[in-house]
Amino acid sequence: MANNNSIKTKLIYTFIAWTISGLIFFPILWTLITSFKTEAEAISASPSLFMFDWTLENYEDVLARSPYFNHFWNSIVISIGSSILGLLIAIPAAWSMAFVQTKRTKNLLMWMLSTKMLPPVGVLIPIYLLFRDFGLLDTKVGLVIVMTLINLPIMVWMLYTYFREIPNEVLEAARMDGASIGEEILYVLLPIALPGIASTLLLNVILAWNEAFWTLILTAANAAPLTAFIASYSSPEGLFYAKLSAASAMAIVPILILGWFSQKQLVRGLSFGAVK
């Protein structure tokens, strides 16, 4: 009886899990399918899921019309650049918060996190003016800086959680063994925390890759990443759904692949310290 119940419960949970996953994945699937339709089929009143004439013409058009690889390169530079720069700042910050705690460390961490709750538009004008005055508008350097700043609180938090799991005694042993603070971080802390650092890096690459608000505002042609490239397909003349879908697919596929291969690492990194 109990066995029947547990199978029933499992079935219900599995059904719910698949339904929710399907709902979440459906827009992506729809985008991918639409990208292989003609514009007429894409806006058809009775759209078909699979039964249509599959075509690659949208991809050809998009590649012919826009410098996709330039945008792709910009996305890579901005996401990886900002994640590495962020790590360089976040590692020492998280180290000091995890191992040299003061009475105010917790407050500082909360304050850092609270900045993520601020709507970005709240700092739009000052950042835009600063970028204009420093000549950073439409530059990759400018975007790397802004992405670093946006994602820094999350990086510090993630690394802090990871570092807190490392016994302080191991670092103290390094100090007793004659290591300077830099050597202690480089030779002992970082190798031990490598899985955490890798997942922090991965998550921030994904966040920076998908960021659209600042990339649309601060770039035009030179530094525009793939998010700006997608947006360029929504024009005042109307939406070309099939081409927009093809552009979207080309923008999200690289990060989807990265996410797919690193999902184990990401889930481990995000749930680290939550359960012990």
Binding site: R175, M176, G178, A179, V188
Partner: protein, 336 residues
């Protein structure tokens, strides 16, 4: 060289005073054990000597030099931690080599030293293993190897054997004692286990509530404890305390008698009692005797003890072995 001199050293955590002013001189080559109950400040003081905790006031001198504010790396001391604190991502070889590499020692010399330490500690076959692939005892040996390889002026041990099982602990205790004899380097050893303290130390410092109650050789502390706390802490099984009416002659408020200093008789004696639990250890027997009007006494007797549970016996202390304590717990001279 490896003398350590603590002068009026204190440590406060906020408003809490963890170490009250302490003066202690540790001689070069000495094996001193800090012993005391949990939270008495012994580990904190060791960490202050190591430089891992700041000193609130007072001076720590190492080899005559003021090292109060010197960073841990520059004190020339090595520490062995309770949790071994090995670098989990490095092989045994690299763990041992780590302090030498930080000191920028030539690679050939490092290899030589690793080989020599590995031989001393029976680690030669494990040099390429990671700490996770070693047993507790082997890990502790690696931690000791990492400490001795840099030839420090003194070793600091922070409860290094508490994670090991009982039999391994006895072996490691002997190994550390032998190491001390062969290296002849100062060792400061923290433990809450008074058996470890008694068996290993040249001198023991008994801590209680952030102060040192008494410093002396193991037998000095055992035979002539300065107060009731030291008498109760040192010795296994524990000393028996007997509260008495305050004496008008010398002010004795309580007496202490060790389990081996009580004589047993079936015909008569100072206290009558009934035997409770009997612990047979083979070579000796501990009797827990419920004494009329007092607590349970522990009595040590020979291994072939004829008594059984419930037997009525009489106990008498060896008068010259009785310890007398005043109202504050201070030991008074025995006038018997």
């Amino acid at each position: 060289m490896g003398s350590i001199h603590l002068k009026q050293v204190t440590k406060d955590f906020g408003d809490v005073s963890v170490i009250k002013p302490i003066d202690l001189e540790i001689k070069d080559g000495e094996f001193i054990v800090f012993v005391g109950p949990s939270g008495c400040g012994k580990s904190t003081l060791l960490r202050m000597i190591a430089g891992l905790e700041d000193t609130t006031s007072g001076t720590i001198e190492i080899d005559g030099q003021d090292a109060t504010t010197t960073p841990p790396a520059k004190r020339g001391l090595a520490m062995v931690f309770q949790s071994y604190a090995l670098y989990p991502h490095m092989s045994v070889r690299n763990n041992i080599a780590f302090p030498l590499k930080r000191a920028k020692i030539n690679d050939d010399i490092i290899e030589e030293k690793i080989a020599s330490v590995a031989k001393t500690l029976n680690l030669t076959d494990y040099l390429d293993r990671k700490p996770g692939q070693l047993s507790g005892g082997q890990r502790q040996r690696v931690a000791i190897g990492r400490a001795i390889v840099r030839q420090p002026s003194a070793f600091l041990f922070d409860e290094p054997l508490s994670n090991l099982d009982a039999s391994l602990r006895v072996n490691m205790r002997l190994e550390i004692s032998e190491l001390h004899k062969s290296l002849n380097t100062t060792m400061v050893y923290v433990t809450h286990d008074q058996v470890e303290a008694m068996t290993m130390a040249d001198r023991i410092a008994v801590f209680n509530g952030g102060i040192i109650e008494q410093v002396g050789s193991p037998l000095e502390l055992y035979n002539n404890p300065a107060n009731r706390f030291v008498a109760g802490f040192i010795g296994s099984p524990k000393i028996n305390f007997i509260d008495i009416e305050p004496s008008t002659i010398d002010g004795t408020c309580s007496l202490g008698i060790r389990p081996e200093h009580i004589e047993i008789s079936t015909t008569g004696g100072q206290w009558a009692g009934k035997i409770g639990v009997i612990e047979h250890l083979g070579s000796e027997t501990f009797l827990h005797v419920h004494v009329d009007g007092h607590d349970t006494f522990t009595v040590k007797t020979s291994g072939d003890c004829p008594f059984k549970y419930g037997d009525e016996i009489y106990l008498s202390p060896q008068k010259n072995k009785l310890l007398h304590f005043d109202a504050t717990g201070k030991t008074l001279p025995n006038i018997a």
